[in-house]
């Protein structure tokens, strides 16, 4: 076992990363050794990244131990860079997180100064001055490069600043100069934010945290009301809304609610979240309350503005959309389905259900089925109810190809009075592979008038005896 991380006290005592635990214990018997849990570390970092989105929507993860915040255009909202940094560090301190931070004009410089320097806010022209006394490790270089540089006496970044570039690149590779340029701000370094930035969002910071569900919903409606003019200006309605709840103790909850049609009505947005909160009730623990609420619209679409008329004819689409949204917010996107017909001879593939993701799907079940030959679609011999997986039955049938005489399904014997068939449906070898057996379907009626759809898989006389299945029930 080796040490992978140290706290400040351990660093002072002279431990170093990579040291064996036994050796460390020999140096100082009273140390606490905890097993590393990288997954939990990452989860904590992700949680902190969510929490940091109170300062800027652009938060990027940096390895396992850091975060980049792009605060371009955000600092003035919080009273300037200094105030932002102080607020951030003070809040993190109260959350029990030991953090260091620096603000500068490039990500590389901030990284270096936060870890190895003493400044916190650097102006644009101070990059060279701040970097010069820092060790080579501040440049985010591979360890071998740092060691090679150390062997030739280049220990501080200042040693590189004045050196000619071409020999450095030849000897130590392009990475060195790239990292140096990035730290100096000569080379652009794109940050990849953890989450896409929503086109629109509205935020409310509360002096006193709220706990009640009704308060949260009331504030959500207020936020939606603030978003509405923006949406109207763009001529759009939201297809996906996301509510971020920042709890006092630093936990952040993200609740997303999709809609089946573009939506900008604040009441209905709040109604959507009412259903969502019902659905996630157990997972959402208000604790000591939420201090910041943010409503954003990650996905929006063109919204057709319709004029209300006096004819009194109720508009059908809008209540239907409201209903679909309520149901899907509560039970998930798969809870409402529409039939989908497709080109297949295998009955269970020919008609399936697909989720009602868009209201425009209603009335379009046959869009893809236009090319299906008419006789197949018009076939009367299709049951009204179909078992998704055919149920095996014991049947007594005429050989070699006759209809069954009687069969036992779910432990009940049915005597067959009449039968129609067979309708032979071959397996789709391009999907099922060569050994797919063909099925002979019979439409049968038992002596009390129940109509069933049975099929025989295989043939009598073949090496394996055929098997009979119940596949559907007719009206």
């Amino acid at each position: 076992m080796r040490l992978v991380a140290l706290d400040g006290y351990a660093e002072k005592r002279g431990f170093h990363i990579g040291q064996g635990v036994a050796e460390a214990r020999a140096m100082c018997p009273e140390i606490d050794v905890l097993t590393a849990d990288p997954a939990a570390d990452r989860a904590l970092l992700a949680g902190l990244a969510d929490w940091c989105s109170r300062y800027t929507p652009l938060v990027a993860l940096d390895g396992d131990s850091g975060l980049f915040l792009d605060i371009t255009g955000c600092a003035h909202l919080l009273g300037g860079e200094k105030a932002l940094l102080d607020d951030l560090l003070a809040r993190l301190f109260h959350l029990g997180v030991e953090a260091r931070a620096a603000i500068s004009s490039s990500a590389g410089l901030s990284w270096a100064v936060a870890r190895f320097g003493s400044d916190d806010i650097l102006a644009e022209d101070e990059a060279a001055r701040a970097l010069a006394p820092l060790p080579m490790a501040a440049l985010r270089l591979p360890r071998e490069t740092i060691e090679t540089l150390g062997r030739v006496g280049l220990k501080q970044i200042g040693d590189l600043l004045e050196a000619p570039r071409a020999p450095l690149a030849r000897r130590f590779g392009a990475t060195l100069l790239l990292r140096l340029d990035q730290a100096l701000g000569r080379e652009d370094e794109p940050l990849s934010p953890r989450l896409p930035v929503a086109a629109l969002s509205a935020e409310r910071r509360l002096g006193e945290p709220v706990q009640g569900e009704d308060d949260v919903l009331g504030l959500t409606e207020e936020l939606a009301l603030r978003l509405k003019p923006e949406l109207e200006k763009r001529g759009e309605g939201g297809r996906l809304f996301e509510l971020l709840l920042f709890r006092v103790d630093g936990a952040v909850f993200r609740i997303a609610a999709g809609t089946s049609a573009p939506l900008n009505d604040p009441r209905r947005v709040a109604g959507l979240f009412r259903e969502r909160l019902q659905a996630v009730h157990e997972d959402l623990d208000a604790g000591f309350g939420f201090e910041i609420l943010r409503l954003s619209v990650p996905k929006s679409e063109k919204y057709e503005v319709m004029q209300e008329d006096f004819s009194g004819t109720p508009d059908r689409e809008r209540p239907l959309a409201a209903f679909a949204d309520r149901v899907m917010a509560r039970f998930g996107a798969e809870s409402l389905m529409v039939p989908a017909l497709s080109e297949s001879h295998v009955p269970e593939r020919a008609a399936t259900f697909r989720p009602l993701t868009d209201l425009a799907l209603i009335g379009k079940a046959e869009e893809r089925a236009e090319n299906i030959p008419a006789p197949l679609l018009a076939a009367a011999a299709r049951p009204q109810r179909l078992f998704p997986s055919p149920e095996p039955v014991e049947a007594v049938a005429e050989v070699p190809e006759g209809p069954p005489r009687s069969f036992r399904w779910r432990r009940t014997l049915h005597r067959i009075a009449r039968a129609e068939g067979p309708e032979r449906i071959a397996g789709e070898w391009w999907l099922d592979g060569e050994p797919a057996l063909e099925r002979d379907y019979f439409r049968v009626e038992d002596d009390s008038g129940r109509r069933f759809w049975l099929f025989r898989e295989g043939h009598y006389g073949a090496s394996a005896p055929p098997r009979w299945f119940m596949h559907g029930v007719f009206a």
Binding site: R316, I362, R385, E398, S448, G449, R451, F474, A475
Partner: protein, 317 residues
């Protein structure tokens, strides 16, 4: 004199209220009083207020239902056993086809049918099958299907659907007699359905008779289908024609349960009453005059085989 007129007015309005609650036609006295106009003008013949019904096209059944399927309120359809679920689902589908058709005939925009099926009901009796329902006459383009896990979820969705004026019918399929759907819940659904003007068909799969708020309850049993007609008017022997249901009105205003044999014709999209099959014809597959007029030819390839068909029994060992 004035007092008596006020009393009479009160009584008439009470009778009207009662008729509305009981979903009956207005009593004749009330109708006459309402029709009489003090100005002496003849009023336009109006649709009877307080009751909307859809004629099923079968006079006896329509009489029993006092005009037809109530378009506001709950109607219960149940079947006794799971294996009869096809018949009950077929009857419910037939009623929703009639609702769709009535909307089209009235020139209203087409509205979808919502089929809510508790997942256990669909697992046991099969999922509604798009192609089969299409062949049955239902416009599957306007079908929305929902498969909630529990009865409670199903009731919630049904209630939400009944409060929007977007559906032409709501089918709620429940298995058995769950405690979550007792009298008060059915009352709630019924009131919602009346307020929302959407017919609710409660399809109770393999359930017992249970007191509910539905106007009518039907027990649907399968019945042998008629044979397919041939172009020359005769019937194709041994074929299975249009589906036939035995619909028994268990709960209605009739003094005793009444049974109807109804055939659903998917092409005409309407129900036809049919006569019960003569018992003998069903039992005896041989024609009435089975004696051959000519002596059978012998020794030829075309002669009937002496033995019956060969049947494959499962192997004993």
């Amino acid at each position: 004199m004035a007092d008596r007129a006020v009393e009479r007015e009160t009584v008439l309005s009470l009778r009207e209220t009662i008729a509305r609650i009981e979903n009956r036609r207005l009593p004749g006295v009330v109708r006459a009083a309402k029709a009489a106009d003090p100005g002496g003008f003849r009023q336009r013949e109006e649709e009877e207020p307080g009751r909307k019904a859809l004629s099923l096209g079968v006079p006896d059944l329509d009489d029993l239902l006092e005009g037809g399927l109530p378009l506001e309120g709950m109607t219960e359809i149940r079947n006794a056993e799971t294996r009869d679920a096809g018949a009950a689902a077929g009857f419910a589908a037939a009623l929703s086809v009639l609702c769709q058709k009535a909307r089209l005939e009235k020139g209203e925009p087409a509205a979808p049918v919502l089929w809510i099926s508790q997942s256990m009901a669909s697992n046991e009796a099969g999922m509604p099958y798009g192609l089969g329902l299409k062949a049955f006459g239902l416009d599957v383009r306007g079908l929305v299907f929902s498969l909630p896990r529990t009865v409670k979820d199903a009731l919630w969705i049904a209630e939400a659907a009944l409060s929007v004026p977007s559906f032409c019918a709501v089918i709620l399929e429940i298995r058995g007699n769950p405690a979550a759907l007792a009298l008060s819940e059915s009352r709630r659904l019924h009131v919602r359905s009346r307020a929302g003007h959407v017919p609710l068909l409660l399809l109770r799969q393999s359930g017992h008779e249970e007191a509910s708020s539905a106007f009518f309850r039907f027990l649907v049993e399968p019945a042998p289908a008629r044979e397919r007609p041939l172009p020359d008017g005769s019937m194709l022997r041994g074929s299975i024609g249009h589906p036939v249901f035995n619909v028994i009105a268990e709960k209605s205003r009739a003094p005793a349960p009444l049974g109807f044999l109804l055939e659903w014709n998917p092409h005409d999209r309407r129900l036809y009453p049919v006569e019960p099959l003569p018992a003998a014809a069903a039992a005896d597959p041989e024609p009435a005059h089975s004696v051959a007029r000519l002596s059978a030819s012998s020794g030829r390839s075309g002669r009937p085989q002496a033995l019956g068909e060969l049947v494959a029994f499962p192997r004993a060992s």
